[in-house]
Structures are given as structure tokens and as C-alpha cells.
Amino acid sequence: MTSIATETRSVIVEREIAYPPEKIWRALTQPHLIEEWLMKNDFVPVVDHRFNLRKEPQPGVSIVVDCKVTAVEPNRSLSYTWDAYGLESVVTWTLTAIPTGTRLRMEQSGFRPDQEQAYRGARSGWHHYLAALEQILARTD
């Protein structure tokens, strides 16, 4: 994968869900519901509201994400910044009503292509080491 240093990438996950947008909107915007599928939070669906997402994947390790609401369009779309450990990104949810329910799309944008460069010039063995570490990280989620 080649990319110029200024380019950023996105992670996009999209699914058709058999519930109406109004119901999904509640799950995306009510703190006690957000906690059930994402993380502990102090979310309020108001533009410029700052909030945190928190979780403790293991005792003594806590993950904190700093966020700020940037756009709210009830039952249709929601955006907030998502900053953690050098990653400065924006998460945008889009809800589209379809005959069977809702098409829900999540786009997280702003990933810098540092990762590929991090491997370059590294001594042999690093690839395997990092791959092993990624597996450990994946298991601790």
C-alpha cells in the first residue's frame, strides 16, 4: 500500500439493521445505552459538548478517548471527534431508513499512514514481533 504522507485513511463499517432509525438513534445517544455497546461515557447530544469514553481492558490499564460533538441531526446523523494516544479522528454515524429497517454507517476518518513507514528500515524480526503484539492487543479488547 503506497500513500503520501499527508493522506489520511478512514475505517468504514456499514450494516443493514432490522430496526427503525429512531430506535438506533436512542442507542447511539443515551449514555446508559452507549455504555452497553461502546464504553462508559458522559455523552450529551449537543454540538460542542466535550465528553470522554473510558474502559479498563485489564486492571491498571485504562483507555480514555477525548471527544467533542461536532454535528447532531436527530435520527439521521451524528459526528464527534475521537482523540486517543496520538490518533486524532472524527467518527460520523449516518442512519438511512430502508424498507427493512435502517442502513447504519460508521466512518472514522483521520488515520495518518504512519504505520507502514514505521516498519521501514526496522531490523528483521520486527515484523513478526509487531504481528505477535497485535495479536496480544486484539485479545485484550
Binding site: 439493521i17 455497546w37 485489564q58 490499564v61 504512519d114 504505520q115 514505521a118 497485535e134 492487543l137 479488547d141
Partner: protein
């Protein structure tokens, strides 16, 4: 200011130090004594490695009585791991949890 990658690469270049760090990632918080029992080097050597890991932000120490407990700070590795791959897996599993929640919610 040294590049974050360089600091991490240099810190984890030593195989003994890397093994100590991997063990903390795998098994969670440990004391110096517990780490020494597995490391194959002396306790002062293990302590020295832990100091280097701590300065790189890769481990955190917690004092409890006369014991010091060390834990891996996985987040410090973020410059080295492929964020997009990791985040994609993260969101896929969040979508699964969201669908489960929607099933449980009353209309």
C-alpha cells in the same frame, strides 16, 4: 525531540527486555520478583529493564507496601500498530454489541 517510533524500537530492541514486556502484556500486572523468576537474568537486571520500559511509557509502576507492581501500557504501542486494522475490528465488534442491545431494548 526523538521520534516516538525510534524510542519504541530502541527500547524493545533488547530481546530480554522485550520478553519482559510481552509477559506483562500477556499475564497482566507482576512484581519484579515474579518477573525475575521467569526472565533468566538477575533481579537488578530486570529492574534496570523495567526502568527503561517505564521511561518509554511502556510500563507503569504501582507501589503497594514494600512491593512494586508493574503493568504494560498497551496504549504506548499505538505508534507501531496499524490503527486502521485494529479500529476496523473494534467497530465490527461494537456493531455486534449494538445489534444485541437493540434486540434487548423495548420498542
Amino acid at each position: 525531540m526523538p521520534n516516538a517510533h525510534d524510542v519504541l524500537f530502541t527500547t524493545l530492541a533488547d530481546p530480554t527486555r522485550r520478553a519482559i514486556f510481552e509477559r506483562l502484556c500477556r499475564d497482566g500486572e507482576q512484581t519484579v520478583g515474579a518477573l525475575t523468576a521467569q526472565a533468566g537474568v538477575s533481579q537488578p537486571a530486570v529492574s534496570k529493564h523495567l526502568g527503561v520500559l517505564r521511561r518509554a511509557g511502556l510500563v507503569r509502576d504501582r507501589h503497594e507496601g514494600r512491593q512494586t507492581h508493574y503493568s504494560a501500557q498497551l496504549a504506548a504501542l499505538s505508534p507501531l500498530v496499524d490503527w486502521t486494522k485494529q479500529m476496523n475490528a473494534f467497530w465490527e465488534s461494537r456493531f455486534d454489541d449494538l445489534e444485541n442491545l437493540l434486540k434487548r431494548m423495548d420498542q
